[in-house]
Symmetry: C2
Subunit: 417 residues, 2 copies
Amino acid sequence: MAYSWLKVPNDSDFTIVNVPFGVFSVPGKSPRAATILGDTVLDLSLLEEAGLFDDIMPIANIFCRPDLNTFIEQPKAVWSNVRQRVIRLLVEPCEDPRLKENSALKRASFHHIAEVKMHLPIHVGDYTDFYSSREHATNVGTMFRGKDDALQPNWLHLPVGYHGRASTVYVSPHNVHRPYGQLQKDANDPSQGSEYGPCQLMDFELEMAAVVGGAANTRPMTIEQAKSRIFGFLLMNDWSARDIQKWEYVPLGPFTSKNFATTVSPWIVTADALEAFAAPTSAGLQDNPTPLPYLQDPEYGSYDVVMTVAIQSARQSQPNVVCTSNFKNLYWNSAQQLAHHTVTGCSMKAGDLLGSGTISGSTETSFGSMLELSWKGSREVKVGEEKRKFLHDGDVVVLKGHCVMSRHTFGCRDRST
Amino acid sequence: MAYSWLKVPNDSDFTIVNVPFGVFSVPGKSPRAATILGDTVLDLSLLEEAGLFDDIMPIANIFCRPDLNTFIEQPKAVWSNVRQRVIRLLVEPCEDPRLKENSALKRASFHHIAEVKMHLPIHVGDYTDFYSSREHATNVGTMFRGKDDALQPNWLHLPVGYHGRASTVYVSPHNVHRPYGQLQKDANDPSQGSEYGPCQLMDFELEMAAVVGGAANTRPMTIEQAKSRIFGFLLMNDWSARDIQKWEYVPLGPFTSKNFATTVSPWIVTADALEAFAAPTSAGLQDNPTPLPYLQDPEYGSYDVVMTVAIQSARQSQPNVVCTSNFKNLYWNSAQQLAHHTVTGCSMKAGDLLGSGTISGSTETSFGSMLELSWKGSREVKVGEEKRKFLHDGDVVVLKGHCVMSRHTFGCRDRST
Ligand SMILES: [Ca+2]
Ligand SMILES: [Ca+2]
Ligand SMILES: [Mg+2]
Ligand SMILES: [Mg+2]
Ligand code: NI
């Protein structure tokens, strides 16, 4: 177990083995890169200015920019070196005393988390959402097509995904307004058409988003290359208007039902930090069928990250957990998603986001959306003393990731309004 | 009829009533904004530097940037003023002699088109592709579901669309490589799964892309607002791998079958320039059904732009026209697409692209894709002396737009390789 000379509260997820990356600002200063340890946000631009990364950084002034894109565009070795350097600077006994012994630098670069504003850490060039939890796809398929036809014929052969809307990826916390849109009048009588009105079936989706790093590819990536191109992960809530989705999505996929808001946690937990939590997926093996060679991952697995969703209504003082799932509940992992994404030659850029798809487990309390928890609105979900089928206005939806994932108060915590 | 004191070849689409915007570079100089008249590319950054736009431009140094985004982020009045100013500078009799009488400025800012390199004129934040030609949707629906079920129940109620991939929007000319990807082995026996191999059904899609301008919205746009937010149009080829598409697209839409390349023409023809060619759509009226109020356009219509596709094989010396369609062949116009895009609150930014969807007419020679021209591969399409069902390697695909659209040699001209 490693400790820091800096005080870290006992319950903090931001320990010295985490070192996530984010973008913060304080009044009067432009947004810039940071990491966090306990309650302390460290201004990486000042550490960089003081020369602490000089020997390991190929480019100058990388941390004073308003997003991390240029940093994560560097090769994986650079990300790893910076993380290791931060650990050496902060660990006790100290391995690199240039920060610990520089009071002026500490004063200038340390901020209490309560005093800073967090920003979207990346400029999202493109955002893709996958559909890679077998439990989730089976649930949705069973609801809409019946148990025998639950998975479409392609599902076990490729990570099904679709392009999402990059301009509406917001950092959490964010107020998500209940959208107005087109709703079918009567599913049994399509000739009645649709009406315009507020979404009645407002929902969240519990997801993890991989942040793509490295230089843009011009050719398909192998699984091996894809692995080295995943910078880290964000918790993600893919807000969804189920009634709008149902009417619009045939045949080209969800559109206005999904493009009003996608929220992500502010701190990117690196793939390096998650390494220690590598774990088999809920599928165990992929052998029925075996994927095509370009999708075969010799280290097939995901990460053991407990993921929860809690809801706090406007009348409640505490969030109530409605779902406990795990990042292991995936059939296609992030490296497979990335390799598939590029199979026809698609260029991936630093800052691109790959949503995992809703991460549902196999039990009724591990489903990652109200659609599944209420089984298409056929049953009530307990939210403390209250009940829900879908979200109400004023509900705060809190996503958390345990283990090294972002400290709980910095998961997603967004209000449905 | 207006003429310029600058020589314009008789057959040029870049007349003084066009004034399209693009981004060019010459050796040793960074990319910057330009317009074109006849064969002459005009460096707008030098005209700006000489003060010719000082009284009408809210921001300095707008034309020396590598994309037009900051310019088209300005209100529509700014775009119109700049276009009018360029016309006044170039028209004969001259209405503003500051360019005509400045030999040094003319020498520095005029380039023959053959001497410049054209770039993608915008940074595409997000790219959306619609499906708004009724003739095209009916063709595809008839092929795959039969005549009676051709249009899905939602199609006449909203402009169906999906999010595309922004990172692979390329300026024409571009070499488009035949992608490898997943192909279903036997559609009649899904249990056989898929195999990895080269796309066998390589296709183009003849589209027009609207370029969104103005400041990012935070609320839904009315039709009226949407109209003032369309900066101009590009010809677009939405390259498509039909066999990959068929296997992957259920239920979330096309993905790797479309994200390897989308090519656009280099010159953005402004909405102002197209105004003179406003025309009813092929639908005439939208009264069966009448759209919901937020989609009702009091000036419902499109533009009379003849659009052609020609193919030139590696053995041929001339392109052979295989399709003659028209931008009128739309059911949902660009303003309706944009209003619908924002109905749930999606934020649109300057530089976002809205593809029209394949623009097919009602006759067999006006279909905008090989899929339709060869009717799913059931008949041969004449390409000069040769025949095609889908594209062959080495085929050059030439898209043109007539009337004021970009000069024919600067439509899309891309090689399938
Ligand atoms: Ca999702
Ligand atoms: Ca298309
Ligand atoms: Mg979303
Ligand atoms: Mg495309
Ligand atoms: Ni961008």
